[in-house]
């Protein structure tokens, strides 16, 4: 089934204080904007729920498990493969020596888990991403807090007004961006 792409605009309000930003979130919600239309951009983490934002759903925990399985398989392949390919008894140990295999397979498992976890973090963070919309360098450079609103049609002006009323020092961004599923 083809997905319809609704073209929406990302409006970004910049605030000096966290309290004003939280007020802005409240005002936008009261005006009917949905949770997944709003996002807060900061230069450092805040306690979860500080701005009343929605819980994030992610599948990050799947990645280390997948990676561990892949790493385990590769480790087993290398250890069993090399021992069977060159079946020579060394040090009185059996051809297929399980304790040494465990050492190498363990490292392979952990390597797989680590690599896949990092890939998972990057993927779940929706990176890499271009910065041509929904962003202003003053957030990371000057410590302002960004409140991003995705709006369509008349809502764009309403969003801008609400952001200014909430105390935004600047409102930027009118670029259109496709709706992303969350």
């Amino acid at each position: 089934m083809a997905r319809e792409m609704a073209r929406r605009t990302a409006v970004l309000g910049l605030f000096r204080s966290a309290e004003a930003t939280a007020d802005g979130v409240d005002a936008l919600r009261a005006a009917g904007f949905r949770d997944h239309d709003l996002d807060v951009l900061t230069d450092s983490p805040f306690p979860e729920g500080a701005f009343g934002e929605r819980e994030i759903h992610h599948r990050l925990y799947v990645f280390p498990l997948m990676g561990a399985a892949c790493g385990f398989a590769v480790g087993m392949l290398i250890t069993v493969g090399t021992q069977m390919s060159f079946p020579i008894v060394t040090g009185g140990k059996p051809i297929l020596s399980i304790p040494p295999m465990i050492n190498v397979m363990y490292e392979g498992t952990m390597l797989g888990a680590l690599i896949f976890t990092v890939l998972g973090v990057i993927f779940e963070s929706r990176l890499p991403r271009r910065l041509d919309r929904g962003y202003d360098p003053r957030i990371l450079r000057d410590g302002l807090i960004g409140l991003e609103v995705k709006a369509a049609g008349d809502q764009v002006d309403a969003a801008r007004d609400l952001l200014r009323q909430a105390g935004a020092v600047d409102v930027v961004g009118a670029e259109r961006e496709p709706d992303r599923a969350h």
């Binding site: 996002d39 807060v40 951009l41 900061t42 230069d43 450092s44 983490p45 805040f46 306690p47 979860e48 934002e53 994030i56 992610h58 990050l60 925990y61 280390p64 290398i78 250890t79 493969g81 090399t82 021992q83 390919s85 060159f86 020579i88 060394t90 040090g91 140990k93 020596s97 040494p100 295999m101 050492n103 190498v104 363990y106 490292e107 392979g108 952990m110 390597l111 888990a113 680590l114 690599i115 976890t117 990092v118 973090v121 990057i122 779940e124 963070s125 929706r126 990176l127 890499p128 991403r129 271009r130 910065l131 929904g134 962003y135 957030i139 990371l140 450079r141 000057d142 410590g143 960004g146």
Partner: protein, 456 residues
Amino acid sequence: MKDRSDLTPKEINRDLLDFPLHKPLWFFGVSLVFVTFITAGLVTAGFLIMVGVGVMGIDRPAMWAFLITNFVFWVGISHAGVMISAILRLVHAEWRRPVTRAAEVLTVFSLATAATFPFLHTGRQWRTMYWAFPYDFWRGVWPDVRSPLIWDPSAIFTYLTGSTLFLYVALLPDLAVAREYAKGTMRKVYAVLSLGFRGTTRQWRLQALAGILLSALILPVFVSVHSIVSWDFAVALVPGWHSTVFAPYFVAGAVHSGVSAVATIMALMRRLFRLEKYITPDHFDAIGRLLIPVACGWLYFWWMDFYFGIYSRATDEVAVQFSRTFVYPYNVLTPIFLLAGFFIPVPLFLFRRVRRNITAMLWLTLLVNVGMWLERFIIIVPALTYKQPFSFSWTAFSPTWADWLMTLWAFGLVLLGVLLFAKFFPIIPLYDIKEGQTIKAEVQIGRVKVPAVVRE
């Protein structure tokens, strides 16, 4: 929690990006010194390859000496990163904030440096490919995974990859900040490396989760790496090496030397980068307190190794322990390493005045690492120089100029690596410090306002 200061985000950005964005004169002078060490080492390595491993002091039966001592020592130092960064993240220790990245960087560079030593000491380094890489290169000969010399590359590769990725993921937000301050080529580099990080709540949540997950994953790897390095010795039947306690003994020693190295680096960073507002006596107090149980654990394992070495009353085992303790030159080196590694610094760490004195902590932690380097040497060489039933040639070990230059090379490589990293990336995590400012609080108890922190 005594030494807290109020800082704005701009101040934090300015202070912590000062060194990456500017070029103080001392940077060039110090870099030149390290480059000199490295050059001397490269020349020595070239000489070693051309002439043979005999240019080092090694000779039958002491075929492992300074190169392997350095290998073990630097793998040990690399344990700092995970100990400080991962464990302190998992227990939400507030004092970790300015320390984690320096510890992680030290891990990456010391591990990479350590990996060069077994490579060099083979004498014909190009053959390492045939011995370690899992492919038979048309010879029909495959690596022997039953050998700990194959477990080593798998462990070190895993730890190095994991540490580097851990460092990179935690660096993402700061790359984004650096992107906004840099100009020209560096701006493009930061832009590419930061992958478009914006600081959304989702990205911050995932950063927090990544910190926990990666910490939990890398901790078992950290324990396994130095254990596998210890098994290079322990699985062999060399008297004095074949001991079951080597794995925890080496890991405890690694944590001891690694955490001490982090304290040393912190003291130097505070001075060179003018980070007095960020690295305070509180941090040295905490590190000093951490070093006490770690050092006690290390001493316990050392004692177990020594005691159960003589427990068996086997002639060769007793002879090696005797040689380590009473035979020249080890009868001089052993008391030095015990004094330097434990009996001088640790009793002093018990005193709060000492722990909060940064100069004292700098010198004491350097002393610890002198002791720990000697400890690795004393584990390795006396056991090899003991005359065994089938020894047909034996000499006392004596280091040459090549041994000393390679040791110096390692210090140069690690320190230059850390310095260059600090030159291009903030050595203290910006967002971590900012988060610390956000979650600062106070609780009024009677007439006193007690510093507090916020927990979610």
